[in-house]
Amino acid sequence: MAEIRNEVSTGSVVSANLRRIIDSKRAFRRALAQRPIDQKLALLDELRDRALAIREAAIRQKARVVEERLPD
């Protein structure tokens, strides 16, 4: 019974923490949405640069894997 009680109370703590995380993320997104448009558009530039860099890195990684697999 003590184990079950512990599990339930731990579960409540996890749920409360998860709720706090979700609320915090929501508040952060809201704050971002309320930034001046010039700042938001500048962020878009940065996000795009980052997305392209990740895409290029993934392509290079794939090419390396293919090279490693090719028979001699």
Partner: protein, 175 residues
């Protein structure tokens, strides 16, 4: 900031009558109302001036104008100020209305015409891809839509049933 440069170019294109009227839609348009989300291109909806003797509208004039000013054609887009820009004539009555009712927002001292939040959300519902539904959910969660205006818009454009299905699938039992 390169998107600000694109806005300057769009305003000049309108002044030079290369396009009749433009408005920014898609993910960049949504940025005017929501948090920025990564996107790889700029969607610009445009009224194309009717060319004499031609039944079909053509973006040739737009591409010629921009390539003469350093733009580089990349598939369906043209790269301007480092960004692929996709020029889109309106393909539905909803998008035509969005273009006609687009609002002007000051960006670094220049006016930028962008779809209203309600039109962006309705177009997302109309287009109906997974990423469009994600964007629609962001609009709803961000509470940036005028609910009554949105519902009237959906009724006007025959999207009420689609909205009800969306509501059932994504918004019910949210507790």
């Amino acid at each position: 900031m390169t998107i600000a440069r694109i806005i300057g170019i769009l305003n000049q294109m309108e002044a030079d009558a290369v396009v009749g009227r433009y408005a920014i839609g898609g993910a960049v348009g949504a940025t005017f109302y929501l948090e920025p989300v990564a996107t790889v291109d700029v969607g610009v909806f445009v009224v194309i001036p009717q060319q004499p003797g031609r039944a079909l509208l053509s973006l040739r004039g737009v591409f010629d104008y921009l390539t003469a000013r350093g733009g580089v054609v990349q598939g369906e887009c043209i790269v301007v100020a480092g960004w692929p820009v996709q020029f889109l004539p309106p393909t539905s009555a909803l998008v035509e209305e969005a273009l006609a009712e687009a609002v002007s927002v000051d960006v670094s001292g220049a006016p930028a015409r962008v779809f209203t939040a309600e039109h962006l959300a309705a177009i997302a519902l109309e287009t109906g891809r997974a990423k469009d539904y994600t964007r629609l959910l962001q609009f709803i969660e961000g509470q940036v839509i005028d609910e009554s205006r949105f519902q009237l818009m959906l009724q006007r454009h025959g999207l009420s049933d689609r909205w009800r299905r969306f509501e059932t699938r994504f918004l019910q039992d949210q507790s």
